[in-house]
């Protein structure tokens, strides 16, 4: 027996106090009406006849008191909402309700336009109403992040409320995590039952790892153990008709940031050829339309180069071939739209601290997206660097405490104030190791670089040796607290680097990396996965506003914020505390971009571990496990008995 309402710790003192009050009221003398009679002897006589012993008189008053105390105990017991402990006859059911993106397909049974989720919810309601009195159940949502919508309940209304609250997201179904969650929830419970409510368009690789019965095969860690669980499947959906956008990317050209190119991947999941119209929309205006002919199951990629425009929001839409058609293209509208954002064109403000270096100045002049201000080392002011996006320090190392307050590129830093401690000197080093994956090294080769003299750095944990000579770092990079630092351990004039193509590329790469490395391919985020959003320096938290207008907070660690997005569309991000910097407010786009989720063909039956999953069954009748209503009925019956005995003068 468990108490779901008020705890015993509250009920026991309440009974003590109220019981004492009942006893006190009982002990109080009843104030009787005084009546004058002419001849009391006659009354004496008949009372002597009707009265029984004093002991019985006391006893029947005691019975009345006990009845009232019993009523009080029953009412307090009902407030405690006691439930019978798990019965061996009742089932423990987990309703795994698919709320992934494919459940938004409009081919549910029922009226036209009924979604699969609505059909699954209706099935869930029917199941819940058919549960036996001793069954307990829990509702789990199956989407990109499976989670319980309710606890284990025997109350139908709570379960129905949980089912009603389920909403489909734009995320793929993480079936493995959901099944493991269900298995954990059902472990050790009586008659465990798992009911899968969904279209069955799930990952076959996950289903293949499910074990329902003991087998001779060696158990692997990846096995999803559902042995002993009665797994059942209630299918929804009836059509696999879908053509969807499975990839959408956009990028600006490096050399000409006013233009951009777009990559769209469209896949047909139909078993017959179809025709669709692909529209590219920039800030609400259609900028490109193409007629796509797709064979059965065909996937096509389209690259749209040299697109131009001032807008930043790009959208790809799949529509029926006829522009006037109002019919939807297919049963799954979620993947008929994809979103992307063009990064705003932004000139990088760079402060160059140098006594004069034509190589360097020439390299900086190459990039028209840079706004360079030159300053002699003697005029260096650490506080003033905060208004620049980056600082380039040529053979100048500010003293400790006066480090630049923005991203910094050090050329030949010296002395104890060097951002990377100087570990020694190298004569004529040869670059032998390069961190080719680092953004700094994109399109750069340092092969056969001649350096007459270099400084080798001692790196701290987290620092990256971008280039090293026999494991001795001579180019190092660091990203800490949202601030990036690059140091070249040699004087440009004592190497042939300025003579190479690699030099201006290296400088521009460094500045691009400082700017956020988002000038490259703009991959949009995929829904249903945790995102690592870049945060502006100094922000401790980001406020992320989802496409539906709801704002959530995401804490920042190491310059990035973790966020889980479940809707496709445009997101707004602003730092907390708020910043006035123009780059502080950012946007990004998120897409479903999951070909497995776009494959919406439902399954009428599900075969798991070589066994076809049967449909769910209704429960059987029994005693309700929630006892409060019975307690109230008994209290009412006692009240009636007490009333009757009082009126019949039995208990007075």
């Amino acid at each position: 027996m468990t108490l779901a309402g008020a705890p015993l710790g509250l009920l026991a003192p309440a009974f003590a106090v109220l019981g004492a009050a009942v006893v006190a009221l009982y002990v109080l003398k009843l104030r009787r009406q005084r009546v004058e009679v002419p001849f009391a002897d006659l009354w004496q006589k008949i009372l002597r006849d009707t009265e029984t012993t004093a002991l019985w008189r006391k006893l029947r008053r005691l019975i009345s008191l006990l009845l009232q105390l019993a009523m009080l105990a029953l009412i307090l017991g009902a407030i405690g909402d006691p439930h019978l402990s798990a019965s061996s006859r009742g089932r423990t059911i987990v309703l795994l309700l698919d709320t992934s993106a494919s459940m938004q397909a409009t081919d549910g049974r029922g009226a036209a336009g009924t979604t699969r989720l609505a059909e699954a919810q209706e099935q869930a309601r029917r199941l819940i109403r058919g549960f036996g009195a001793e069954d307990v159940a829990m509702v789990l949502s199956l989407d990109g992040r499976p989670a319980p919508i309710s606890g284990f309940q025997s109350d139908d209304r709570e379960l129905l409320r949980a089912v009603d609250a389920a909403a489909a997201t734009d995320t793929p179904a993480d079936l493995e995590r959901a099944l493991r969650l269900a298995a954990d929830a059902l472990r050790g419970r009586t008659r465990p039952t798992l009911v899968l409510l969904g279209d069955g368009a799930w990952d076959d690789r996950v289903l293949a790892r499910v074990r329902l019965a003991d087998s001779t095969e060696k158990e692997k860690l990846s096995t999803i153990d559902l042995r002993g669980v009665d797994v059942r499947f209630a299918p929804v959906g009836k059509s696999g008709d879908n053509v969807g956008i499975t990839a959408f990317a956009v990028r600006r050209y490096r050399a000409n940031q006013t233009a951009y190119e777009v990559l769209v991947e469209v896949q047909s999941f139909r078993d017959h050829a179809s025709v669709a119209r692909l529209e590219l929309v920039q800030d609400g205006e259609v900028v490109n339309v193409e007629r796509l002919e797709l064979g059965a199951g065909e996937r096509v990629e389209r690259l749209y180069p040299n697109l131009a425009g001032e807008g930043t929001r790009l959208e790809a839409r799949l529509r029926p071939e006829s522009p006037t058609s109002k019919e939807p293209l297919d049963a799954f509208p979620v993947d008929d739209r994809a979103y992307a954002l063009l990064p705003p064109r932004h000139k990088l403000k760079v402060e160059l601290i140098t006594a004069g270096n034509l190589f360097l100045e020439g390299a900086l002049l190459l990039d028209e997206n840079l706004q360079v201000e030159k300053l002699a080392p003697g005029n260096y002011d650490a506080a003033a660097t905060a208004k620049y996006d980056a600082v380039v320090l040529d053979a100048f190392t500010p003293p400790k405490g006066s480090e630049p307050r923005t991203h910094a590129l050090y050329l030949d830093p010296r002395g104890p104030a060097s951002p990377f401690p100087v570990a020694g000197e190298l004569d004529a080093p040869l670059v032998t190791e390069v961190a080719a994956d680092h953004p700094l090294m994109r399109w750069v080769t340092l092969k056969d670089l001649n350096i007459s003299h270099a400084t080798r750095f001692a790196l701290a944990p987290g620092d990256v040796a971008v280039a090293a000579a026999l494991k001795q770092p001579i180019i190092a990079a660091r990203e800490r607290d949202g601030r990036k630092t690059v140091a070249l351990g040699f004087d440009l004039r004592r190497s042939d680097l300025p003579m190479r193509v690699a030099f201006p590329v290296l400088v521009v790469n460094a500045l691009d990396w400082f700017a956020g490395a988002d000038t490259g391919l703009l991959a949009t985020y995929a829904t249903g996965q945790p995102w690592r959003l870049p945060a502006p320096p100094g922000a401790s938290e980001l406020a992320v506003t989802a496409p539906d207008g709801k704002t959530q907070r995401a804490p920042v660690h190491d310059g990035r914020a973790s966020f889980y997005g479940s809707s496709a569309g445009y997101y707004q991000v602003s730092p907390l505390p708020p910043s006035d910097a123009p780059a502080a407010m950012r946007q990004f786009a998120a897409n479903l971009a999951s070909s497995s989720e776009s494959r919406i063909a439902p399954r009428a039956e599900l075969i798991v571990d070589g066994r076809k999953l049967p449909p769910p069954e209704p429960g059987r009748l029994g005693v309700r496990r929630s006892l409060w209503s019975y307690l109230i009925l008994v209290a009412l019956a006692i009240a009636l008995v007490e009333w009757w005995t009082y009126n019949r003068r039995v208990t007075v």
Binding site: L30, R32, R34, P38, D41, W43, L47, T50
Partner: protein
């Protein structure tokens, strides 16, 4: 309600007197004869022997024939004294019993006065009370009215003590009409027997009220005896009420049986019965007028 001794009441009394004359045609001196066992010559009646009766008046011939002890009653002619003993205890206050008793008392007194009998009124109950000395003639009726008006209910009944005191203070024997509810914890038998032993001719008029016999009580009450002040907490149920009604009826019946057994004329009247009806019933039954 207080007894109204007004003009209309007087007219009613006069009417009763006329009626009484039809019942009984009187004689010269006193217009009625008193029944006295043994002292007269004219046989009047038989009655059952009770302990204390004079054995000289036993009818041995009847005993020989029927094996029953019967007493011969003879009529004696003399000036009749009528004593009306009226209960003025606290219990008479309830349900206007005293008012009713006063009215009946006045009516009987009027008839007695009119017949030139000597009528005396003796209130009892509670502390010692004055009595109305024997009077004769209709003219004294106002004295009777005044006297009765001053009688207030208080104290305990104590019938035996009152009648004992009466018989010892009264030398002349005569008719003793006891008007009371007879609610005396000590009983009524001793008192009535005392009257008989002292050769008074008792007549019992019991006044009661329907509200007393079937009280409309319910629930938890505290009963207070109006005379003794005794308290008792009881819970009145339907069954208790029914038992009480039976007990009350049995009590009255016991009194009636007692009187019948001793030849004492017994009359019982509810206070809702018109007093003249009761008085006529007394006349018709004889004894008072015969």
């Amino acid at each position: 309600m207080r007894a109204q001794f007004d003009e209309s009441f007087l007219k009613k009394l006069e009417y009763l007197y006329v009626v009484s004359r039809k019942v009984f045609s009187g004689r010269m001196r006193a217009e009625r004869r008193t029944k006295k066992t043994g002292s007269g010559v004219e046989f009047a009646d038989h009655r059952n022997y009770t302990v204390g009766d004079d054995l000289r008046y036993l009818d041995w011939s009847v005993y020989g024939r029927l094996d029953k002890l019967l007493l011969r009653l003879f009529e004696e002619e003399e000036d009749l004294h009528i004593y009306i003993l009226i209960d003025a205890s606290a219990s008479m206050r309830a349900n206007d019993k005293l008012d009713y008793a006063q009215t009946v008392c006045a009516a009987l007194a009027y008839v007695g006065l009119a017949k030139l009998d000597r009528v005396s009124i003796v209130p009892f109950g509670g502390p010692s009370r004055d009595r109305l000395p024997p009077s004769r003639g209709k003219g004294n009726i106002f004295k009777v009215f005044r006297f009765l008006s001053e009688v207030a209910p208080e104290g305990r009944t104590e019938l035996s003590r009152a009648l004992e005191s009466f018989v010892h203070q009264t030398k002349r024997r005569g008719l003793a009409v006891v008007i009371s509810d007879f609610y005396d914890p000590a009983g009524y038998a001793d008192g009535l027997n005392l009257l008989r032993y002292h050769r008074f001719e008792p007549t019992v008029v019991q006044i009661w009220s329907e509200r007393e016999a079937r009280p409309k009580l319910r629930g938890d009450v505290e009963l207070v005896d109006v005379e003794t002040g005794e308290l008792r907490e009881v819970t009145i149920t339907e069954r208790a009420l029914s038992s009480y009604a039976k007990a009350h009826a049995a009590y009255c019946e016991q009194l009636a049986t007692f009187c019948a057994g001793r030849g004492i004329p017994y009359f019982r009247a509810d206070t809702t019965v018109p007093f003249d009806e009761l008085v006529l019933r007394i006349f018709r039954a004889g004894g008072f007028l015969s």
